[in-house]
């Protein structure tokens, strides 16, 4: 057992990890879950919305510790996975324009569009760069004054304010060679849509960790109120997830239905107000946005406000960016997986035609996608 220092002043950084990954604590919560769940009248199907949580569950093998009446349904919280092909094609088209440097984050570079991925475009000579932070665009733009840097922005609420911070800098400092293609999406609308499908079997939600740090836990209020589904906002260490499951079981057993925050060390009701203000200065909601595999979700995505059209790549290059919807390969069931209706193992091409080295569907491409998580951590049972 870890010896935990009683004085806050001497709390070591390492404990902010190790304490929430402690093997004995994980096992103890497993025992507690087994005890409590014996009193459940029916199975509890929990949707973990966020791809990061899917990852934690798979990486730490948490399913193996749970009784059979507690099930995970993997949600669509993977911003790369839900990017529709036609918008990935926008990135490909923009990257091949002369004197353009297309910049984006992480996994976006591997997602296949209709004609390969950004990685393939790079191999064929397009100037595509992946960056750790949107602010890295500033240096790229300074070093390449004659080129146009197009930042292909992706991500949920966690990542949106960072794009806003870059836009703020570009606007305030009048940086003339950075423009934006905005693909930010929002979580609660997607969660609500899944519940509007009558064939769903979601009983409860584990709320995303860092979306909630930014937006606050207030955004989940409609779920107990309108949809009668409890939400526990969880941290993404394994102990956090196990404790959140306990909290959900206890809600069901106590006949409660509310929003609770397990990740109280980082999540507040209001969230990061400064970040929200920055978002509101530059972004507004799009009426429509098609989520790959799910379809159109109203008000679930953001775009630049009209007064910032001068840095909006979608407006500037409107003539060459097609909006025709492109459907996935017919064998791909990412849509059902994103809706929580199927598991990667139900897919006929999982692990064969569709693998991380040559993904067919988006759930395999991103390290947060359900298929990638299942493939990598190989569900051994």
């Amino acid at each position: 057992m870890n010896k935990i220092d009683k004085t806050v002043k001497r709390l070591q950084l390492k404990e902010l990890y190790s304490g929430f990954r402690d093997a004995e604590v994980i096992k103890s919560y497993a025992v507690l879950i087994h005890k409590l769940s014996k009193n459940l009248q029916k199975p509890l199907n929990i949707m973990e919305v966020c791809g990061g949580h899917t990852h934690t569950i798979m990486k730490y093998g948490l399913k193996q510790l749970l009784p059979s009446n507690i099930n995970f349904i993997h949600g669509p919280g993977c911003p790369v996975c839900i990017m529709p092909k036609e918008r990935i094609n926008h990135a490909l088209i923009l990257s091949k324009l002369p004197d353009v440097i297309l910049v984006t984050l992480g996994d976006m570079i591997k997602v296949p569009g209709s004609d390969g991925s950004l990685q393939d475009a790079r191999a064929q000579g397009a100037d595509v760069r992946f960056v750790y932070s949107p602010m890295d665009c500033i240096k790229i733009s300074h070093d390449n004054p004659e080129k146009k840097v197009i930042f292909f922005a992706i991500g949920f609420e966690t990542t949106t304010p960072m794009s806003a911070a870059l836009i703020n800098k570009v606007v305030k400092e009048k940086i003339g060679n950075i423009i934006f293609h905005i693909n930010h999406v929002t979580i609660p609308e997607a969660m609500a849509l899944l519940l509007e499908d009558n064939s769903h079997n979601i009983n409860a939600f584990i709320g995303p960790s860092h979306v909630s740090v930014i937006s606050g836990s207030k955004i989940y209020e409609p779920f107990p109120k309108i949809y009668k589904k409890p939400v526990v906002v969880s941290g993404f260490e394994p102990v956090d997830v196990m404790k959140s499951i306990v909290m959900l079981i206890e809600q069901v057993l106590d006949n409660r239905c509310e929003v609770e925050v397990e990740y109280s060390r980082s999540v507040s009701y209001d969230g990061n107000v400064q970040a929200q203000k920055l978002n509101n200065s530059y972004f507004e909601k799009r009426e429509h946005f098609r989520w790959r595999g799910i379809g159109d979700i109203t008000s679930s995505a953001l775009k630049l406000k009209p007064e910032f059209s001068f840095i909006d790549a979608e407006k500037i290059y409107e003539a060459i960016l097609p909006t025709q919807e492109i459907n996935d390969h017919k064998l791909c069931i990412c849509g059902d997986i994103l809706k929580g209706k199927a598991s990667p193992q139900n897919c006929n091409i999982f692990g064969t035609l569709c693998k991380p080295s040559h993904p067919v569907g988006s759930c395999m491409v991103s390290s947060e996608g359900a298929c990638a998580a299942y493939y990598k951590y190989g569900d051994i049972l």
Partner: protein, 94 residues
């Protein structure tokens, strides 16, 4: 993509509105553009995401959580732990 790791502030640069954070011995710069002015000090624990400080971690709350885990641990005995993990369950509803 959601990789927000707790880090400790070791230096604050008010002019650049950024700070240096230490994550297990790895030091890097992070922007303070998402934080209200003067809300952070050296020694604070924060969450970093793609080069930005997202929030300050409530260390008292973290400690309370860690202490609560000790309680959960103390309620279990070794036999229960081994049985549950290795032998599965007898849940009536599947």
């Amino acid at each position: 993509m959601c990789l927000c790791i707790p880090s400790k502030i070791t230096l604050i640069d008010k002019e650049k509105n950024s700070c240096i954070v230490d994550t297990m011995g790895v030091k890097r710069e992070a922007s303070l553009d998402l934080m209200e002015v003067d809300t952070l000090s050296i020694g604070d624990y924060v969450l970093i995401h793609i080069g930005f400080v997202m929030n300050k971690i409530d260390t008292e709350d973290a400690l309370t959580s860690l202490e609560a885990f000790e309680e959960v641990l103390s309620l279990m005995d070794d036999e229960e732990l081994e049985e549950t993990v290795h032998k599965g369950d007898n849940c009536p509803n599947e």
